[in-house]
Symmetry: D2
Subunit: 356 residues, 4 copies
């Protein structure tokens, strides 16, 4: 395997795991060294049919179950032995319990936003602390909503200076593949401050972002309604121009869709961005929603919770293994391979850059 390619072991074939397998496969400098699963599902079988190798990684230290024995190339130890990095996409909260194991094997691991900040070395977002990836071995990526918020706010802050942002996140109560676990006919507000703004403040304390969240009966991408107070007067036109010229942000008007379902359809049925299955790695911002009055701007975004963090995860893996690689090069490489690249010069400055 390999000849210098980063060998990535992906654990879990859920919403995120499936997309990580595709995303890693799309990167010429990476290879999926194996996929860790708990049991042989049609998903797992389909993955094997296209050439992936399956490992049994159900529980730390478990023996491989006999009756399925011949289906697996090995257990977790075997997957670790053949990988340079683990992308652990197990269900929320489970991944972090494997950190001691990964440390013993001296293997770096990337987790998703479902893990707790306190369980990992670092919370990572490519628009905030890209360089940190090379200094830690157990890293979680910011959650989907926080990732979207971060891209927009760090971009606006760098250029115009954000004084404060108050956001309301209208959230899917479940993912499309977990439809039997959601809300029916009602909204469930998060009664205290939602974690999203707080998470962003933790990695970028200069951003005063405060969020409320309301879960609703849908499973197609979140909506964020933001009120942003700038330090000076701004115009909607200037905001739109900046966002249009920022990687991983997509500005579109109502013809792309006036509901999040329409949006999902748009991305599933057009040739660009070239992500299959309608995945939308970019944050979408409705152009018509951007309204400025004095120094206050309102805008509405849509975040595909299934796909948005994939780009940051790929960046993180690459930086872990190439600790000298510049952010602009790394992100451009990721985006080219994911089919969402904008012009190279737009990658020169993105978000903020912090040292933590």
């Amino acid at each position: 395997m390999g000849s210098g390619r980063i060998r990535v072991g992906v654990i879990g074939l859920g919403t995120i795991g499936r997309r990580l397998v595709s995303a890693v496969t799309s990167q010429p400098d990476m290879v999926v060294s194996g996929i860790g699963v708990r049991r042989i599902t049609p998903f797992a079988l389909a993955s094997r049919r296209v050439g992936h190798v399956l490992f049994h990684t159900a529980k730390c230290g478990d023996a491989i179950e006999t009756h399925d024995g011949d289906d697996y190339a090995g257990g977790l130890d075997d997957l670790l032995a053949t990988s340079d990095v683990i992308a652990d996409a197990r269900q929320a909260g489970l991944g972090a319990t494997f950190i001691p194991r990964y440390r013993r094997s001296a293997i770096a691991a990337v987790f998703q936003g479902g893990e707790k900040a306190s369980d990992v070395d670092c919370t990572f977002n490519s628009f905030v602390n890209y360089e940190a990836a090379s200094r830690h071995s157990a890293i979680r990526i910011t959650s989907c909503n926080t990732t979207g918020l971060t891209r927009v706010l760090t971009t606006l802050h760098r250029e115009f200076g954000v004084d404060r942002c108050d956001g309301v996140l209208v959230r899917c109560s479940t993912d499309p593949d977990k439809g039997n676990n959601g809300l029916v006919n009602g909204a469930a507000p998060t009664l205290h401050e939602s974690h999203h703004g707080r998470d962003l403040r933790e990695i970028a304390p200069e951003l005063r972002v405060y969020t409320q969240a309301v879960a609703v009966p849908m499973s197609f991408s979140h909506v964020q309604a933001l009120t942003i107070q700038f330090k000076r007067r701004v115009t909607a036109a200037a905001i739109i121009e900046l966002l249009e010229n920022t990687p991983r942000i997509r500005v579109g008007d109502h013809t792309y869709g006036t509901t999040t379902g329409d949006l999902a359809n748009y991305f599933a049925y057009t040739a660009e961005p070239r992500q299959s299955r309608g995945d939308r790695i970019e944050v979408f911002i409705w152009r018509e929603s951007v309204a400025a009055e004095g120094s206050v701007v309102k805008l509405i975004t849509s975040v595909d919770m299934q796909a948005i963090t994939i780009a940051d995860t790929v960046d993180c893996i690459r930086r872990m293994k190439f600790p000298k690689l510049a952010r602009s090069e790394c992100l451009l490489e990721t985006d080219r391979n994911l089919g969402i690249a904008k012009q190279p010069e737009l990658y020169r400055h993105v978000g903020v850059e912090r040292a933590n």
Copy 2:
């Protein structure tokens, strides 16, 4: 009929009309003089069974349809002749087309928020311009979301001085009885400023309120997530105390329900407030959601779009006919009869009072 009671002709037996019939019936100084309908539905039949008289009011000037002739006590003219006030709860936009007719008959009419401000003499909210009701003959009540917003913000403004409010309204895409006309699996943001804040600014220009709205697949009461900037430091405790001591506002914690569906159940199954069918005329505010930091307060409310404007409509009708009646007396009377009264002294000062 009568002996001094206000004779109210209710037109329409939809979401609002049905509730107006009940609400007017509950007021000892009012009587439903007749119900105007387009056709004999089970709703209409049930209303007649409990003693109401039906009139045929399908289209301005229409003759009563022959085949249903014996079912009706008369047409629109007959209903007007027997009424002091018309509460017109036809579908949005239709009511206002009857204003010339009402003026010809010199009868005052109250409309709901679906009519346009420009089509009526005045937009009415009991917490803002109660006295205006006696100076106009074609009045619309503020819409459900605006009514909720108005109660909360005028109350807070009078006591603490609101500098600015930014709100996001998570809206039902349809009413419970129009379930075949709503959203499935997706959110539909209003891409420009929603009318709610603007409507409130029009009747109370001192309140700088700006709203965004997102419709979602539900039919049980809206949710409002507000960020309120006060002119001075405030505490959550002071805010909560004030709201608890304000008529038509209900502060409750998560045990009342953590979803809007739970809330609806709570109000349907407890003896207080005594509205049947789970109608919630009060704005509900989750106590846990009230958070203050310096001069900024966040809170989350829930508005039962089917019921909230009923109280204001009853107030408006009474003030139209008793132009000397003080606001405190009128609102207390309404609330007592609706079963939602708080202590009488709390009615002394509510909202603001403007002259328009």
Copy 3:
């Protein structure tokens, strides 16, 4: 308390418990002796405000928790001491674990359809085995869907002879007050035979009923689409006439509503039946859906899963304590008090009558 009234202890204030409290209260020969709850919720407080006495019944044998001590009139022992019958409406599966306790106290108990048939003495439905109630002390009521199916099929069978029925139940994935625990955008079929037909065959083996079930994202009453093969030719008119003249069955046309949401609204907003809150204890059958061709009839019903079993539960309690009471008298008494009675002579023959 008392003077001959049946003292009913209701345990649980969920979807069913709340309705049982109301239903028992409405029966002049019964009284709610107390309500057993796990903790003091707004529901519990509201119940106490209207005069009910609360008991702490969290776990079998538990001491009453000190910090709440003064809120309760006692524990489970105290509730048993003051009751003649227990209506146990705890969450599904929990109630039956208390059967040994109830037996030790020699108190009869009625459970809901969430308990397993094998855990109780008898599964009860007023249209099938009314008399059995006086011979057992731990009885469960048939589940909501089975209760609806039973009323319709035993009625048709008695009159016309049903050879076989194949039904598909389109089920709510959750109740209105448990909205955060249901399906989003998708259907979940029960892959094997659903229990409903099987449950009915167990208590009425002469009825060959086979059901499939599909859960969907809604919380307002189930829909049943039935194909019934009779032993002889029948007409839609004869079927309709029979169903119209059967207690606890309500035949209505599309003007009552073309969606189950509309139906719920109808029952919430008309004066008949006189159940508050829109509860529909009767099975609803759309008249237009009844179609006969030769000996095969198709029809579509709607079952309010929150309310339909309440009538049978009340019947069961009464028969337990008045073992000589005729079915026709008992059911008529229940229905009169619930506000859904039809003419007395229609109660003479209902459903079938089995001895088990």
Copy 4:
């Protein structure tokens, strides 16, 4: 263009039109000669970016609108001039109004199931009347639900003899890209016999199929719960084996998904079938749901309403232009190019073959 390839003009870029463009493009013996649209949407732009030519086909005979003039290669006349067949996927009911126009141009046209049977020459389904395609010039494909039903029932009938089938279709109330036009929290039964069984009986009168339908708040594939009475005893194993060995039918167990949302995910995220975007052209049948008792079989299917008719449409186009082409060859060719082919010998006998 061309060299013998069938030039297909696709009109409309909605749910079906988008898929037809992809499907025709995937067939080496066909080419999309142009796409007819009403206005330049992001969908249309994306189609042009990948090389398709846009024509303005808004209304029969309309001049091309000036302001968009340079965006279109021409109008409807121009599209007809460059096409051998028109695949008209306009909104339901509109397509048929163009039939006179197509006849004047002597061009064959294929419509979707939204058009009325009485407006076209023939209703087409590859499993019933494949050969008819070469005898008519205005043909509609059976609707999605009917197509699914037809595949399953003609297959079972040919092998085992179906006496009668009673089906209940649990339908999506809207498509994913029309989410703002569906049901919220309720079911809407079709009160009379649904058209699906009747449509099938019209093209295959030997099949006694009767259907009821219930629309529900979802947009991901329909569910069909069937009761099939055979002329002789059958076993579930034999049924399953037959279905597994039939083209365009896919038998899978619960690990593919226990909800239709899960299923959609499965097909979106595995490499087989190789349709992008999760389209499922095959009818899915849950293996566990197939239950036989004597001569009666029950089973549950899922039909992706967006994709299932695409295969039949491609077959129809090919047969129209190659009137000697055998069904087995045509269907195999279609399926190979769509990535859903089974072994060639399984195409020898499919469904029934009627002459109408």
